[in-house]
Amino acid sequence: MTSEEVGFSISQYADGSLPAEQVHALEQLLATDENAQKLLAEYRQLDRALAAHLPPLPEVNWSQFQQSISQAVADAAASLASGQSVLRLRWQARLAVAAAALLAIGLISIIVTQSVELAPISQITGPKAEAPSGQVIAEVEIGPSPRLAESGQSWEYAESAITRPTRVAIAAGVAPVDRNPY
């Protein structure tokens, strides 16, 4: 054993906590080793000094002190209970506010929906334009005339769009010329 291990064993031996299986070996060492004996004596002397010379515990009226703690605990328990009830109230209040807000939003949305007439929506679908057979050399888009566009009566244009294509792609089988033919 190292000196540190011997010291640790002696420290435990001094306070009676050395495991039983180690006691015999240590006592054999103590019987022959003066340094071990000296260390044990020093530890015991230290314990005696701690017991004898440390300041004594304060003189306390334990019954009164216990009552004081008990009262403080009772106050804390009451405070805790009221705090929890306040928290519960707050939680319920929050829930009530949230429910009221949802109800108000629902009512408002119903009123708004019923009071506003939405414009009819028409979706017109038709055949897809055929892909040009050759390279596109020009594209012509057909739209309302400037006068019609300004009139705002786009329904006339919409009617025409049903029967006429609004976009024509002109394709040719020959290579395009640089100059725009139109």
């Binding site: 010291g7 640790f8 420290s11 435990q12 306070d15 906590s17 020093e42 530890y43 002397q45 230290l46 314990d47 000094a49 701690l50 017991a51 004898a52 010379h53 440390l54 300041p55 004594p56 515990l57 304060p58 003189e59 306390v60 009226n61 334990w62 009164q64 002190f65 216990q66 009552q67 004081s68 703690i69 008990s70 009262q71 403080a72 605990v73 009772a74 804390a76 328990a77 805790l80």
Partner: protein
């Protein structure tokens, strides 16, 4: 505390009332069970705090605070049977925090609980015992050694000091010291050994036969 202390022994039908049972009763709302725990541990709590603070007023204040803290967080105690160690851990932590912040603390009116020898004004943070001279048996050498012991204890690490104070001075069971320090019993033995070794070195000129 108007109610008479309940006869918990008759309820358990055993020789003693376990801490675990008292904790469980407290958690069900029976505060008398916690009063029982206060009665069981208040002296030890004050002793441990006093050994760390060297001031009886501070020790009483910390002890009361520790019980309040224990009560408010009792439901977080994983092992109700280990209430004693858990409480001492609260006491030691609060004491160490208190000592660090002591210079800014205000003295609380706790004189009513102290005996006549404790009621003289104290300088905050100092050793009241060193100023006391009401014990004629105590010699000058003895008081000097007591002061040296306290100073030497203050030089130990917190775990060494706590282990030595709780085990070697206050005679707490090693298991409870281990619960307080949140370590193994072997580690407690090691801290005690290291504390003794260091104290012996510091006090080598004073510990003579």
């Amino acid at each position: 505390m108007a109610d008479e202390p309940p006869d918990f022994r008759s309820q358990t039908g055993s020789d003693g009332v376990s801490d675990g049972w008292l904790v469980s009763q407290t958690l069900t709302g029976d505060r008398r069970a916690f009063d029982w725990l206060i009665g069981r541990y208040q002296k030890r709590a004050v002793a441990v705090s006093y050994r760390l603070l060297n001031n009886s007023h501070d020790a009483l204040e910390v002890t009361q605070e520790a019980f309040l803290k224990a009560f408010s967080s009792l439901d977080s105690l994983q092992q109700p049977e280990a209430f004693g160690g858990w409480l001492m851990r609260i006491v030691s932590n609060l004491s160490l925090n208190f000592r660090r912040a002591r210079k800014t603390r205000v003295q609380l009116p706790l004189d009513d609980f102290l005996g006549s020898g404790e009621q003289e004004p104290e300088s905050s943070g100092g050793s009241e015992w060193a100023a006391r001279s009401d014990n004629p048996v105590r010699t000058l050498e003895g008081r000097e050694l007591g002061g040296k012991l306290q100073a030497a204890l203050a030089q130990l690490s917190e775990k060494q000091r706590l282990a030595l104070v709780m085990f070697a001075v206050e005679k707490m069971p090693q298991k409870e010291v281990a619960e307080t320090l949140e370590c193994s019993v072997e580690a407690v033995k090691w801290y005690v050994f290291q504390g003794r070794k260091k104290l012996k070195e510091i006090l080598k000129d004073f510990l003579v036969d």
